[in-house]
Symmetry: C2
Subunit: 164 residues, 2 copies
DNA sequence: CGAGCCATTGGTATAATATAACACCTCATC
DNA sequence: GATGAGGTGTTATATTATACCAATGGCTCG
């Protein structure tokens, strides 16, 4: 899941995205095997479609694309696959967009923060332990016990920022 | 907007919620007057309904309650009021719940983090400058320019935490 | 083997959330 | 008294998500 020559977090236009996809699928096989989960054809296909780029995809977009595969699919099919993939940590839901992206760090549990470019819609997963801990700490100071974090930052990615 | 004798952030069951509501409405009058915005009867009423408690309310719940006022309301009415209130900083949208809460600190612009109790559904607005800055800083390190932050932490509030 | 069980999928229907588009009204201003 | 902007009423529809039931397929355990 290398992006161009630099080690920028943001995928540049020229990166080999096929590599992103195959890495994601390999990691998924891996994870599911390790955890005794079943990466069935539908689930695998949905994951592949989610990874078609680094932008969040809506469930109904996925549905259309699945249908184009030949067998017309119904909403529950997609939502079930997405639910599985989410619970397996392979896909994240972007709540502010009602859409889904592939998880960039599927091989380990993590708390992450999303950087969402409002221009090109690219999403990058920031993985700051420090922020995760700060949030927990500040919440704990009020007696609140955090179970799940959803952090979504909207703004401009380097590319879109520089061209405006 | 005092909550009981202690200075806990979490409203306890016994707090005088009428005071929360009237404080919120007063602050709204204030803000709108200062900024040249019109707090029309509908908008005021929606704000009042949003403040009926410290839990997020869905747009269609608000709609029902508005309708109970006598004049049956249609979705755009509520959504328009909510949009106005959000842009005036008087109401926040909780994306993970598709629901709305009154803003606890309407008198100044701020970045906030939501603590959402998954048990009693109470939402508290944490207002940590430090976290806001950390997020910006870490994003900036990747060349990302943050424009909006949406931070939602789900877990157990002190009350629900202690009774389980 | 075969009975029972559970996870997965297929499918219908519907729920829940949100917006587009257009008509009308009111008020401020020119 | 025309004009224009902001607000509201209303109809229709788009978008996102789930409830529910039937059928299938693989699995274990006796």
């Amino acid at each position: 899941m290398k992006h161009a020559a630099t080690n920028e977090a943001f995928p540049d236009a020229g990166h080999d995205h096929g590599e992103c996809i195959s890495a994601a699928l390999a990691a998924a096989e891996d994870t599911c095997h390790r955890e005794g989960l079943r990466l069935t054809p539908i689930r695998r296909r949905v994951l592949e479609l989610v990874w078609q780029n680094h932008r969040p995809v809506g469930a109904y977009d996925l549905l259309d694309q699945l249908s184009r595969d030949g067998k017309r699919a119904m909403p529950p099919t997609v939502y079930r696959a997405l639910e599985f993939l989410q619970s397996a940590g392979l896909v994240h839901r972007i709540a502010t967009l009602n859409a889904f992206v592939g998880c960039s760090h599927p091989r380990h549990v993590h708390q992450c923060q999303f950087l969402i470019c409002s221009d090109c819609r690219t999403v990058v997963e920031l993985e700051s332990e420090q922020i995760g801990r700060s949030l927990k700490r500040e919440a704990a100071a009020l007696g609140f016990q955090v179970r799940a974090q959803n952090v979504e930052l909207t703004g401009l990615c380097p590319e879109c920022h520089s061209t405006h």
